[in-house]
Symmetry: C2
Subunit: 154 residues, 2 copies
């Protein structure tokens, strides 16, 4: 009823905060990432660092550029982040002997072992969030569409 009563003002406010997808996206991203903080703290990782570790558990070694492509991050963002992961002892940063420009990012033993603990992270988050896996999968699928749409603009 309330939504069909707009007979005299046909334009729903284009600038209303409530209507902005970008606002919902920003708040949801900050909120969900915030949920990871206490869960990742025992592993000594921030959320972006966790994502880098996920990428490295899938394949190692990788170059900075390669990680940037996978995570959609600029090398300038990864550079200091990777140094912190090295300080933590989870990765090694070595120049590629075959191409001295490239940096080989390799998992250390500690970094590889960390995967065991990380296996517990996703279940904990889902439990805290209390949203159906169905809905999360639908959301992820829609976000993937948006990501593709953004990439198409470049």
């Amino acid at each position: 009823m309330s939504s069909s009563a707009q007979t005299l003002s046909p334009q729903p406010d284009v600038l209303a905060l409530e209507n902005q997808v970008c606002f919902a996206l920003a708040v949801a991203a900050r909120g969900v990432i915030g949920l990871y903080r206490p869960v990742l703290e025992p592993l000594g990782l921030t959320h972006p660092q966790y994502l880098v570790m996920l990428a490295l558990w899938e394949r190692s070694p990788r170059t900075v550029r390669d990680l940037g492509d996978a995570l959609q991050l600029e090398p300038a963002t990864l550079s200091p982040l990777l140094k912190r992961l090295e300080t933590q002892g989870y990765i090694a940063r070595d120049r590629n002997p075959a191409d001295e420009r490239a940096l080989n990012i390799t998992l250390t033993d500690a970094g590889a072992r960390l995967r065991e603990q990380a296996l517990g992270v996703p279940p904990q988050i889902v439990a805290r969030l209390g949203v159906e896996l169905d809905e999360l999968e639908r959301l992820r699928s829609q976000l993937t569409d948006v990501i593709a749409a953004v990439r198409a603009t470049r």
Copy 2:
């Protein structure tokens, strides 16, 4: 075929980057916000600053706390951001005479006038993104659910 051939390994990789909602959320948020950069540049606003202006166009004056509640941001984040908006000349920051702790954030004339230009922003973004309004609305609705779920954990 490839997705139904998992008869011997029933568990889809829990740590695969592809499967992480948090990753899709982070990339989509960065990507969409990135679309705003060239569109907001003529207005002299960053995306977070744009969101603050949206809140102020809905109601002014507002306190820092009030804006923080609306935007789900910490006062520590808003404090320097608001000073930059003041420097730009879009807002004024004055102590409330009735309560010297509180800061009244008020739109200046320039800030109020800026709304006219801002009216063109959402259409430009939607055009660049090239996604159906239907789908954007579905996405916004699902994000709102997730935001509510996050809030429920506090």
